[in-house]
Amino acid sequence: MVRRTVEAIPLLLLISVILFAILSNAPGGPLAPYLQNPHITAADIARLKHNLGLDDPIYIQYIKWIARVVGLQSDGESQHFGNFGYSTSNSETVTAAILERMPATLLLMGSAFTFSLIVGVAFGIIAAIKPYSSVDYLVTTFAFFGQSMPVFWFALMLQLAFAVNGINAFGYHIALPSAGLSNSDDFNIGDRLQHLILPTIVLSLLFLATWSRFTRSSMLEVLKTDYMRTAAAKGLDKMTIIMRHGLKNALMPVVTIVALSLPGLVAGAVVTETIFAWPGMGRLFINALGQFDFSLLMGYLMMVSFLVVFFNLVADVAYAWLDPRVKYD
């Protein structure tokens, strides 16, 4: 386990090298935003280039960059771990820009994660209890639709139904906000929740679908085991057997797939935040793309890659902890 944690460090370094090499290929690299500005002359560019060390060979640039990021060197302003420099598209440091947007993204991801986990696992269990029944068929079909749905189009359709027209159901007219985090700056829990509903459903769909399919097949495996038959022979009722004995074992492989879903969650958040004008990191990233804000793109990609590596590790640890038969050398 310690070895796995140690292995994550060279992996992250390798990721940073490759990302740095790719992003430096952009015309102007970190200077791209200045190249379009008519008030900045070629001489200014040359001076900036020299000051920022961009006339150094690329490996020197990388060494300087990584030294600043891990906090070994100051960038003239500050010196700390995770110093990704100055974001030209936001006129603040990359760290400040990302930290400012992080709560909104965490709120969205967290609610989508919780919703998909609870509903997905519930769907999976219901389908597995009566395999090949009409309920199972319904859940499986739903899962196929969820996996095949283009996220951005699903978002547009929900907006069309709930925000543009509103839906009349059970004698109520249901209309939901389709953009932003809230209507006013004053904190209002009802307003916040209303704004959260559509983005959460959109971001959840894919994970709901995959996790329910996964829980279903995992639960079907468990139901065939000897210890489940033993539990039934003891005279326990079906619900107790499934919830007490079955679920714990069936969820073990689900833990892995859930932790490995993180890259998908990040990608989904980029699209969802763009469509719902959600003030999170995904939208920050899309805005930075248009102006090619080198420091911010680099910072964002490093951060999400770090999270992915970290959650892979968590998945390994959790799996070994839940299932003592699994051993890592």
Binding site: L14, P150, V164, P263, L301
Partner: protein
């Protein structure tokens, strides 16, 4: 060898007769999988329509109708069966030409992905040692960076380097195909790791075959089942990826129609012309659903143990 059951290692070795028999068994199982057959017909229909786009009596997909005056024309108006988009271009024609783009991007990107993924996975699994170690670290890197943001950065670099128009068919194929191979490489590596220990590999080596021949003629045919399944499912993934890139403005560029970029401006006209927003997405959903059902059926048919 029986016709209905597969040997533990997958398909038969290289003897062509056995391979034929196995294929019969696979075909029989696939035919019994009804959603897969429906999926296959839907895909065949889409491909046929897309391929015949130039022959069908369609409007010019990029021509703006004279009757257009700022808002999309409704279905049926001025000879537009499905109406027009937000700048007065025939929607049906754009959907069909869009199908052409979206489907060919998916096909070529997946061919590229399969080629790279298979070669990398085969070399890593067959040779093992430090070759394997470094190739797998490389796949780890690309599996750890979320794919969509990475694709977006690359397409943004291309459009910043020259013009947006440089984001054409070929560039999108190369960027998607060039980055989506790692999970396939892992899959192929896993089968090669076990296949290289098999007796027939030993025999092929003892006969003095070159490594290249052993890899492609002796081992690859035995690893082909999961590659076909994964390749099919990847077509679905790539259709979604390409449409997402195009929707966000970093994929296929207008005026060339793709199902994704047709939705890029749909949000602004949603209240007065919902069909502009509904139809392209419906095409994506139906196609991807069909491909996923076909892939699922093929998985059941090719290897009943994989599930």
């Amino acid at each position: 060898m029986a016709t209905t059951t597969l040997p533990p290692g997958g398909l038969a070795i290289t003897a062509d007769d056995d391979f034929q028999l196995e294929r019969h068994g696979v075909w029989k199982r696939l035919r019994r999988h009804k959603p897969a057959i429906v999926g296959a017909f839907v895909i065949a229909f889409m491909v046929l329509i897309a391929a015949l786009a130039h022959v069908l009596p369609l409007h010019d997909p990029n021509a703006i109708d004279n009757a257009w005056s700022g808002t999309p024309l409704a279905p049926g108006v001025a000879g537009h069966f499905l109406g027009t988009d937000e700048v007065g271009r025939d929607l049906l024609a754009r959907l069909i030409y869009g199908a052409q783009i979206s489907l060919t991007v998916a096909l070529f990107a997946v061919i590229m992905e399969l080629t790279i993924g298979t070669v990398v996975g085969a070399i890593a699994g067959y040779y093992g040692g430090w070759v394997d170690y470094w190739l797998m670290r490389l796949t780890d890197v690309f599996l750890s960076i979320p794919l969509l943001p990475l694709l977006l950065v690359l397409t943004a670099i291309v459009s910043a380097t020259s013009t947006k128009a440089a984001l054409n068919f070929g560039t999108i194929v190369i960027i998607i195909g060039g980055l989506s191979w790692p999970s396939l490489a892992r899959l192929v590596r896993a089968s090669f790791l076990s296949l290289r220990e098999k007796e027939f590999t030993e025999a092929a080596r003892a006969l003095g075959n070159r490594d290249g021949r052993i890899i492609f003629r002796h081992l690859l045919p035995n690893a082909v089942a999961p590659i076909i399944v994964q390749g099919t499912l990847e077509i679905a993934n790539v259709i979604i990826l390409e449409s997402t890139l195009s929707f966000l403005g970093f994929g296929i560029q207008p005026p060339t129609a793709s199902w994704g970029n047709m939705l890029a401006n749909a949000q602004s006209n949603m209240s007065n012309a919902p069909w502009v927003a509904i139809l392209p997405g419906l095409c994506i959903l139906v196609t991807v659903l069909a491909v996923n059902y076909l892939g699922d059926g093929m998985r059941d048919a090719l290897d009943p143990k994989l599930k």
